[in-house]
């Protein structure tokens, strides 16, 4: 029914309360019934669009119609990342306090591009990121109270790009910013590093040929000797090494690059070292897992994603630099319409100069709320539980002579495979995922098709992992029989 033109069309405060409560209840219900949905959406290409009207509405609709369509149109097309049976990729977990923090960020609706455009947005962010340094046992020189500092990026991809830009400018004395990249710049990472590093190298104008993919050892971690050789060969050829990206917990297999040796090489050659600990970094909440960060004090920059494994909904990447001036020099531009006294005083951070976009929302709120709700103790509890469940799963795999564990399991990701070869593993994964009971993903290691099971969803409990293993064995039995007939 069209609204009359004398109405404001806005949702009134009372309507907002009413529909807001309804949405909160819808989300609570969704999480309570989430295991009733197939984890992997069974939608086919075009299904969702076919359920939507071709034309936008000329007149406003009642919000109840929108809520009804969440169930009718949206949920059938959702892969349920928040399901406890979501064991694919890396998780992107969330929690009650994080969701409410995101809601508050939207409700307050400030822009944090400059300190002056909302001081609390900047200062809470600096403060909470300093807390995380203590919580994870990271080096003190990343703190905002030193020459370093932390900032929230949308993703590890963007953090890598920012690290590369800072490194590029440090290596060229700001010449790349002024005159453009020259083709002598080179970047190093391992063969197992994330695709975002190649993407950053392309975006930043170095080109794919500037990327050296250093060989890995039998555990899929970078070989520092090969890194040193590559750097020396490049230097001898007149190249300018500007960045090494080391990974703590690779996406394929959770390999941890040997940071002390890599860091030493970077120091010797004056090369910026960035460490990407996207999922694994969260484990450092627990002192017993901090070995993964051994050598991190040699890094020029570091990031991990609270939006993966720390119950803080996407997007929330915590990115730290040891020398913030280098980052700011690479990214700062100050047009007249953004000039202000606070910026010119030098007493504040303007986070627009620490990132690619200009605008930014109040993402520190959700991180603050998660940390306060759980406390260090609560976060440690869940990290330990996830790691223990993954280790238990790995033991089950080792004890079944049809399967093998395909890579070391330092934390919560298990790479494993059926010994029957690639085809059987592919079929096994497809069947399991199509069943809707659970969702796994895959990778290739040493040329072989490998299954990945990652325990990191907020509500994943022992019985979910137990049932996953039972289903994997059952489906494997069926597939084996089919292959033998």
């Amino acid at each position: 029914m069209p609204k009359k033109p004398d109405q404001s069309y806005h949702m009134s405060a009372d309507e907002f309360r009413r529909w807001g409560h309804a949405v909160i209840d819808w989300i609570a219900d969704y999480h309570e019934r989430i295991e009733s949905f197939p984890v992997l959406s069974q939608a086919q290409p075009g299904d969702v669009r076919a359920s939507l009207p071709a034309q936008p509405p000329a007149h406003g609709e009642d919000f109840s119609a929108v809520l009804a369509d969440l169930d009718r149109v949206i949920l059938p097309g959702v892969t349920h990342w928040q399901s406890p049976n979501f064991l694919a990729y890396f998780p992107s977990n969330a929690s009650g306090p994080a969701i409410l923090g995101e809601l508050l960020s939207a409700g307050i609706g400030v822009q944090g591009m400059l300190w002056a455009t909302s001081p609390a947005c900047t200062e809470l962010e600096s403060h909470v990121l300093d807390w995380l340094i203590d919580m994870l046992g990271l080096p003190g020189h990343f703190k905002s109270t030193t020459d370093g500092g932390g900032v929230i990026q949308d993703s590890a991809s963007s953090a890598t790009l920012c690290a590369l830009l800072a490194a590029r400018e440090r290596a060229t004395g700001l010449d790349a910013n002024e005159h453009g990249c020259d083709r002598r710049l080179v970047v190093y990472t391992s063969l197992q590093a994330h695709s975002s590093i190649e993407k950053a190298v392309k975006i930043a104008g170095l080109g794919k040929q500037a990327l050296r993919l250093v060989d890995t050892d039998e555990h899929h971690a970078m070989k520092p000797g090969r890194l040193a050789e590559a750097i020396e060969a490049d230097r001898a050829a007149g190249k300018v090494p500007c960045l090494v990206v080391a990974t703590v917990g690779t996406t394929s297999s959770h390999a941890v690059d040997p940071l002390p040796a890599i860091g030493k090489i970077c120091r010797e050659h004056g090369i910026w070292l960035h460490i990407d600990a996207a999922m694994a970094g969260t484990a450092a909440l627990c002192p017993e897992f901090r070995t993964i960060h051994h050598g991190v004090e040699l890094a020029d920059s570091y990031c991990f994603n609270p939006h993966k494994w720390m119950f803080t909904n996407f997007d929330c990447n915590a990115f730290y630099v040891a020398e913030r001036a280098a980052l700011i020099r690479a990214l700062s531009i100050l047009p007249e319409y953004l000039r202000n006294q606070a910026t010119e005083s030098g007493a504040v951070f303007d986070y627009r100069d620490w990132q690619i976009p200009l605008g930014r929302r109040f993402r520190a709120l959700k991180l603050w709320m998660v940390i306060r709700h759980y406390g260090i103790e609560g976060l440690q509890h869940h990290v330990r539980r996830h790691v223990a469940l993954a280790q238990q799963f790995a033991d089950w795999v080792r004890d079944d002579d049809r399967f093998e564990v395909a890579a070391p399991v330092p934390l919560n990701l298990v790479c494993f495979r059926h010994l029957g070869g690639d085809a059987i593993n592919q079929t096994l994964m497809d069947r399991l995922n199509q069943s809707g009971h659970l969702y796994l993903s895959h990778t290739r290691l040493d040329g072989k098709f490998i299954l990945r099971l990652c325990v990191g969803q907020t509500k994943t409990e022992a019985h979910h992992v137990e049932r996953a293993w039972q289903r994997i064995r059952d489906v494997a039995g069926t597939v084996e029989k089919e292959q033998n007939t």
Copy 2:
């Protein structure tokens, strides 16, 4: 009080309902009392951090403590972008349905990096962005049902960077992606264009010297003749022009570059034309304002920000390309762990290849909810109202012989100044902003300090603009007297 270790630490469904309702009510209350706060935060550097504990909490806290700190710690450090008296910069407005859409996005918590990782996230986005094409009267070749398509970016800055990367690769036959930027590439925009263009040129490795700032006319719009001359001079010098960025509604003064003439030049020279209509684009909801888009059919890419003036909270930039294959070629990398049947079928969009980061949240939800709540009619109503209020304000300025309007007022931004010179205008702005009653910003045009008043906040009504003008005149009177004594 520390929680016991046998608890799960998670917020239960019942607690989520309880605290969720409380947060909704807090937001409703905040918007009802928003005019009681000084618009510009009066916090001094360090004030917010001084109110926060130095150490993170070892044990979880009750959510009521967090909510209490919103009022105690956060609000004093907030500049109230959602206040109807916020008349600075460009707005970053929001609305009830948008806030609830953001809440739902956080509650559902999917990753939309691939179609396969949540089909609804991708398909709703393509669909709603196609709706916007009809709603704004944009060219049909931007639709996802043709060779083009739309995608949500976090900001116009990122859209510009993506356009530049696509243009760079088209101009170099993917050579920049492969071998790195060469220093022959050049980019053109006007002297009045946004700082994000210089930032993109630096990020993408072209360097600031590759950026040509084309002269503007007396209305601060690009001179196409000068553009043509610059391109020809560069070609003659062996340079490779790859991108022109034209602006519909510059940040300083809302100047509209002459798109038909610029587009014609770009076509003649085979140069990618990107149009940045960050705030002004929303005006095209109303047929009578679509003259701003005259010539947009000549663009290779276009963006505007529903998060500025279309009641959809940040971040939500709508970015369109006429040839999506060019964008995807520039940004696509497919590692093994992201391979899937839907991607390989070619029947779906994987939006990770349309943007800088890999991960992405379900931002289409809020846009869908805004469009359905308001309908085209409701959105048009508010755009017309804002434009009428700005025009009224401009008339008042013109009628006061102490002031002048300093640039054309095509839509909802008024540039004006007191005729007493820069110092009086700076003092006037500082006094007004420090008063907390309203918030203006400034720019420089033709070397002069200019005040900017933009009418675009969701709840800005006639009486807010009237009172703003009254206060401006009153404070001007006081400052004039001080200067005369």
